[in-house]
Symmetry: C2
């Protein structure tokens, strides 16, 4: 029996805006940041639960305050009880009606719940001595169903239907686990494609990506059409005809503009257009999907919750579903989304990058392969090669594939030294603060 | 020329959970609260801008932190410049890409923008010596169009179409202003209908509502079906056949349950069912609307932004549109929503109650009457009779009608004594805190 002693938060920011890593048509100067949470118990094992919300700078303090607002649900509670019933635990956070008013189920408060839920999963997995993907992948279908909040989903996915999906994937679980451990999970890279990079850097990084074994790269688009045409042509020439090229407009357009713009890029054999418009706009994405086919629409990294994903699937408004490890209410809600995707037969290709998102989200794709969809066909996890050095168990890429993690936990634990070094204090080294000063 | 000296925030909470005023099927113990903002300049007139976000208790501190995160956009700036271009000013807040990441355009950060935008409008209106409804209602159509962020709206509403709507309402503006000042704007009351009230109290308050001149009352539903049937029968008997009765499920149901439940209440001649399910679920509301007709679906108080309203209108998922004064990004975004409603010919019946929402939202309906829809047909503003005494210019109801305010400002200024008395410090007088302690 152990008690949770503390929910400790910290505001960690990396001054990435100085290098334009991560620049796109909407986010010109991101300072990649984490609203970080650490859960400490009085157990003799000394194990802790770690999690965070990824943000891009200003407002990370607001996100930290939101995580703190959940402390009363956790501190002083029996750890075994919370961890034994992660479905009930996550619903307790979600159905705190006073906090729910601040969303409901969206934005700062919802992401805060995600961080705490993920930190509890980290603790649970460490106690089990397993990485989260494996802990989840060894739970029974009934236990997995119990993790999900089906409210607002049942017109499309009932607990019984979810159970059927999971039962169907039970045969072969052990083989897929073994396969994962041997060969990893396919990735793709966004490293060449940031909008702030020169043509020369784009071409060099695109060639390096192919040499590194990636089967797909992605380019940011939506700043200037003539630039995009030139950059896509250079990229296609650099990688050859057999490598997939995705594009990402970061919500830049309306319906007409998206369809028109993509008509000029189609000749470069684009596999998907990501975030063509507002992540809230189901009907616009559906119209765009009809207008840009056979290019597929990919979205999800900014989608607020499972209810939005449900509608995008119902309306055929996306053909590639992009979960994010820190946008929704944690692993539990992401399991709901994986089940929805499986119900519609849509591939899940997670968003990653930022700070620690690669480390975190790989667990969800690997769990999906073992216990939900049972396949990696048409599925890739985004990879961006920065800031991994700050994590206790950084991702390992080999030949363009995520090597399957075996360390216990959810992958989100940042090194104490990094947390200390990049603890935020307003200062002119942050270009965005200086510009506003 | 004046400079903004300070953006001062405060955490104000009223311990309403002790009386169950405001209780519904989802919100059992609200402590009506305001994340309050006051903008101070160095102008000799001493005028201030006031605004707030309404919350229901826990997390109000998070909302306050989010408002503070906007201070750098305001403090030290030239007041005349910000106020002269309120469209550009509000877009500056919305398109701060680092802060936008925290939504985007939803939840805590978006509501914080709303509070600051509304506080600036309060200052602008006080400087003009006009109530906000009149200030807005006297702007030219072109000036009003300039206030709106059309991004993500243009598949349905272009600036040119908005201009047409506003130009069509120019004739008769002066007459409608005069009419408003003489007769006010129709209201309806939710006071009898809270779920925590006894049958006796429900009947007594329903009869009082009719005696007070209201043409419509609203009852919370969704807790227990047999209770709802009994309460609706009592209410219908109490008010007679000529008074409208609305119902409000506060997001309690899924699609099937909503249609089934309402089939049992239809015999009591219900005019609308409000928030039958998740406020994010366009497709579910559309299905419910088809299933419960001729009862209409009303929603909007929790709708995150103009993009969601647009889709609900496109999909005929609501037949009554309920704006809220503090959920979206302030008066500017609410003008976008009023224009969308006018484009679809859907009546706007604002959500109010809470703390100061009646005081604030009446300005939007009155502006709509003067300069957008040009009518009050089928339109009513919600009224709840509590906490008005804390405001500098409390609403005045006569014969069930909002009496048109003539005091300069947006109506949101709370008395300094109330702000001081209810300044929040965690304490056991808040039942919800005590329960968790």
């Amino acid at each position: 029996m152990s008690t949770i002693l503390a929910l400790e938060t910290s505001d960690v920011r990396f001054p990435t805006s100085t290098s334009l890593d991560g620049s796109d048509a909407m986010n010109l100067d991101p300072d990649y940041s984490a609203a970080y949470v650490r859960i400490v118990t009085d157990a003799e094992d000394g194990l802790e639960g770690h999690g965070f919300v990824f943000t891009i700078g200003r407002g990370n303090d607001v996100q930290v305050a939101a995580i703190q607002a959940l402390a009363h649900h956790v501190v002083g509670r029996n750890a075994e009880e919370l961890l034994a019933h992660m479905g009930a635990t996550s619903r307790e956070f979600l159905w705190d009606s006073q906090l729910r008013w601040l969303g409901p189920e969206k934005g700062v408060m919802h992401m805060a719940i995600g961080a705490v839920v993920n930190a509890l999963w980290d603790l649970k997995a460490k106690r089990a001595g397993l990485p989260v993907w494996q802990l989840l992948g060894r739970m029974s279908p009934a236990e997995i169903v119990e993790l999900v909040d089906f409210r607002y989903l049942e017109d499309v996915l009932t607990p019984e239907q979810a159970l059927d999906i999971l039962e169907a994937a039970v045969p072969g679980r052990a083989e897929r686990e073994a396969q994962l451990l041997q060969t990893g999970y396919p990735g793709y890279t966004t490293t060449p494609g940031w909008l702030g990079y020169s043509d020369e850097k784009l071409v060099r990084l695109a060639k390096e990506a192919v040499a590194d074994g990636f089967g797909m790269i992605k380019l940011k688009v939506g700043g200037n059409l003539q630039d995009d045409i030139r950059r896509l042509r250079l990229a296609r020439e650099a990688v050859g005809p057999d490598i997939l090229i995705g594009t990402d407009a970061n919500q830049r357009w309306g319906v007409t503009e998206a369809i028109e713009w993509m008509s000029h890029l189609a000749e470069f054999d684009v596999t998907w257009i990501e975030e063509p418009t507002s992540p809230d706009d189901v009907l616009a994405h559906a119209a765009i999907a009809r207008g840009v086919a056979p290019i597929r629409v990919a979205t999800g990294e900014h989608m607020a919750n499972r209810v939005m994903f449900k509608q995008f699937l119902q309306a055929d408004a996306l053909q590639v579903l992009q979960i994010d490890a820190s946008r929704v209410a944690g692993i539990n809600e992401n399991i709901a989304i994986l089940l929805l995707a499986a119900r519609f037969g849509v591939p899940v290709c997670p968003h990653a990058g930022g700070v620690g998102l690669c480390e975190a989200v790989q667990h969800l794709s690997m769990f999906d392969f073992v216990a939900v969809s049972g396949t990696t066909d048409g599925r890739v996890i985004e990879f961006v090669d920065h800031l991994h050095e700050h994590f206790v168990t950084p991702v390992v890429m080999e030949s363009g594939r995520y090597q399957t993690p075996t360390a216990p936990g959810n992958g989100m634990e940042m090194l104490p030294a990094s947390r200390a070094q990049y603890a935020y204090v307003p200062a002119p080294e942050f270009a965005s603060d200086a510009a506003l000063a």
